[in-house]
């Protein structure tokens, strides 16, 4: 299997999707000849022409409005939002339109073909407007699917899964991993399932749950904890909405302990939903409170980014605290 970084894996997925189905279109700010500011759409215009891969004017609400219309018409738009921080002008088109299109029409019409890609997350010295993790905003919106990959292999398979899924899907790409995460990626088309979490490591003392770039952080923390003799089970949630309650509950029923981590602020973050659900499902099995290791309840900082981030040491400490409760 060839080795690729996450950007190459994403580019490969888009290439395959466009080759496979001429109804697939890629567009957004600077995605045309330039291939996007991160180059995720490199060469697609050259290969598939300007009518299928193109720059849009600089207007996110227009990009998603346009994409909703295309999807309703039967095309398969893959719209890029340049940074997840700039998805909010399109919030109405996503939350009031994409999410409710099928429901409100009684399934006469739908925008199931829609995929929205956006780089998200911190750790790149981007400050408050190039670092946000907005997944929880969308996870409160029935009708949407929200997906976050952790590495190149997952990115390609989940993106192909998202493009082919008959529901509007947000695909948040951890930009810190774009070039940093390199791994083997199968050639050709393969699709990873949406809505399924993955147990990436089995263990018995405690469950660690995260998504995207936090999976690497969890990995480091788990390595430390296992040296202390703590057996960790690790789950990548992968799809934030609708999320795989069963797999997470099954793990916590076994381990009795859960730590959830994300970069977004604590309050209203998706870890809250998970903790609330799991305390209900696993009440009598919980040996310690479900812990959340997250960003602070502030905008994303710049100079103090290191202090803000839920890094491996903070996750490790949460593991210790949970086990020693």
């Amino acid at each position: 299997m060839p080795k690729m970084n996450m950007l190459q894996a994403i580019n490969d997925a888009l290439d395959i999707a466009m080759a496979d189905n001429e109804k697939v279109l890629c567009f957004g700010e600077d995605v045309g000849i330039f291939g996007g500011v991160f180059r995720a759409t490199s060469n697609l215009q050259q290969k598939y022409g300007k009518s299928r891969c193109f720059n849009t004017p600089l207007v996110e609400q227009g990009i998603i409005g346009f994409a909703n219309g295309l999807a309703a018409q039967g095309s398969v738009p893959v719209a890029e939002i340049q940074f997840a921080d700039y998805i909010f002008p399109a919030f109405d088109q996503i939350v009031n339109e994409s999410a409710k299109f099928r429901y409100r029409s009684g399934n006469l019409f739908n925008v199931g073909g829609l995929t929205i890609r956006a780089p998200y997350g911190g750790g790149i010295a981007g400050g408050l407007y190039h670092s946000q993790s907005p997944e929880a905003y969308f996870a409160h919106t029935p009708g949407l699917k929200v997906v976050v990959p952790r590495n190149p292999h997952q990115a390609k398979g989940l993106l192909l899964g998202a493009i082919n899924d008959p529901n509007p899907t947000l695909f948040f790409e951890p930009k810190r991993l774009y070039r940093a995460s390199v791994g083997e990626v199968p050639e050709g088309d393969y699709r990873l399932p949406l809505g399924e979490a993955e147990v990436t490591k089995e263990g018995k003392d405690i469950t660690l749950l995260g998504w995207g770039a936090q999976m690497e952080v969890i990995g480091q923390a788990v390595e430390m904890a296992e040296k202390d003799g703590i057996s960790c089970e690790v789950i990548d949630l992968r799809t934030i909405l609708p999320w795989d309650v069963e797999k997470v509950a099954a793990s916590v029923l076994k381990t009795g302990r859960l730590v959830v981590t994300h970069e977004a602020p604590l309050t209203g973050g998706f870890a809250g939903e998970i903790a609330a659900t799991i305390q209900e499902r696993c009440f009598l099995y919980l040996e310690s409170p479900i812990a959340r290791v997250t960003g602070l309840d502030t905008p994303f900082p710049l100079a103090l980014e290191k202090e803000y981030l839920p890094d491996h040491l903070k996750v490790y400490e949460a593991i210790r605290t949970s086990v020693e409760f």
């Binding site: 409005g65 346009f66 088109q93 699917k145």
Partner: protein
């Protein structure tokens, strides 16, 4: 990149607000049913003209009856097209029936013209089990896949950039079809409007933007909505072709839209049409316009009634007479009433429709939520009389 032609240079500061560049209003038909001097009627045969007129009368009758039904407490809410039938039906008649219509909420005339049946209207209005929308939206949020009429969405202007996208898809499909989106002059203030026009112009999309400038957005008069002379001059900002038309003149609306469609489909040139008209009724059944406008003003516009104008033209053409009018009105009234009575009695949509269509399939956790609702209803059947019977089926 920035371009300047030397010929376009001035050496003293000269400001302009474009006001000297007036956009005229295109008219054909006078209120008495005769054409303006120099005007030429569009090429409409008797059948088509009568199809248009029937749709106008149907819409008027429907609106009258349903507002009355709302007043009687049969219906929760209603919105009338009254006064704007020519703008809506004239434009629709100029399209191919396969063109997509993405409207706002006051365009039932378009749907009537396409052949939405009285029964279909009623099922939506009463949100019963035969409503295509499964009783999920307020009255007047119609939709029809087979008639290429996109289901109405309440958030204003969202359908305008969607129309641009839809039409872009049609262009790629190459079937010679286009999309029309219809919206109010109030909705045109939303950011989505600006995005839609700009993208349509840049990407040369076969879309027609039809603005019904009816003078008000609820209570807000258009002078508090924009300072410009209507919505039309905005087209210049995007280098889009625009035409202003007398919205109460069905022949002019028809002709303008016919030509706009040709430009859109043959030349991939999006077009903005501003139809100058007036909302003769209240904004909705919840509104009382007496708080924000005068009876005099309303009367001035009542004298411009688009139905009377078309009828006068038809009569002059010898295609219509008083008897036919009376008979049509009566039969439509009867039909609307009879159909309403049947539709009103149809049961509500099934309990399961609470959770369907959120996704293509019901996710497991949501299926459980439905089960919980059902078991709760089984416990308190009297509190949920509409669904108690259906809840019995549960696990």
């Amino acid at each position: 990149m920035a371009k300047t032609k030397t010929s376009d240079v001035v050496y003293s500061p000269r400001f302009t607000d474009g006001a000297e560049f007036k956009i005229p209003t295109f008219k054909l038909l006078k209120q008495d049913g005769t054409l303006y001097k120099g005007a030429k009627a569009p090429d409409l045969d008797r059948d088509k003209a009568l199809r248009m007129y029937h749709s106008m009368v149907f819409t008027r009758v429907l609106d009258e009856r349903m507002l009355a039904a709302q007043r009687q407490g049969r219906l929760s809410f209603y919105m009338q097209c009254t006064g704007e039938e020519a703008a809506v039906i004239g434009s629709t008649a100029a399209l191919d029936d396969r063109d997509m219509i993405m409207a706002q909420y006051r365009e039932q005339g378009a749907l009537a013209y396409r052949g939405f049946t009285t029964d279909e209207f009623m099922n939506q209005l009463f949100g019963n089990e035969q409503d295509y929308g499964k009783g999920r939206q307020m009255p007047v949020h119609y939709g029809s896949a087979k008639l290429n009429y996109m289901t109405i969405s309440s958030p204003l202007a969202t359908q305008i950039p969607q129309a641009t996208g839809y039409a872009y898809g049609q262009k790629l499909a190459g079937e010679g079809l286009c999309t029309i989106t219809i919206f109010g002059e109030g909705a045109a203030s939303e950011g989505d409007f600006h995005a839609a026009l700009n993208m349509a112009a840049v990407h040369r999309v076969p879309v027609i933007f039809l603005c019904r400038n009816n003078g008000y957005a609820i209570s807000t008069p258009s002078v508090e909505q924009f300072a410009a002379d209507g919505v039309a001059p905005r087209a210049f900002g995007y280098k889009m072709d625009v035409i202003r038309v007398d919205g109460n003149d069905i022949l002019a609306v028809y002709e303008a839209t016919r030509e706009a469609r040709r430009m859109a489909v043959e030349d991939n040139r999006p077009v903005l049409i501003e139809a100058m008209t007036y909302r003769l009724a209240a904004h909705s059944s919840s509104d009382d316009p007496s708080g924000y406008r005068s009876k005099d003003e309303e009367q001035k516009w009542r004298d411009q009634d688009p139905l009377l104008r078309m009828r006068a033209w038809l009569e002059k053409a010898g295609w219509w007479n008083d008897d036919e009018e009376k008979q049509l009105q009566e039969s439509l009234r009867k039909e609307v009433l009879a159909t309403m009575k049947v539709a009103q009695k149809r049961p509500a949509p099934p309990l399961d429709s609470l959770v369907t269509d959120v996704y293509d399939q019901v996710p497991p956790a949501l299926a459980k939520q439905l089960e919980a609702v059902k078991s709760h209803i089984r416990k308190y059947p009297d509190t949920y009389p509409n669904s108690a019977e259906q809840a019995k089926g549960g696990a």
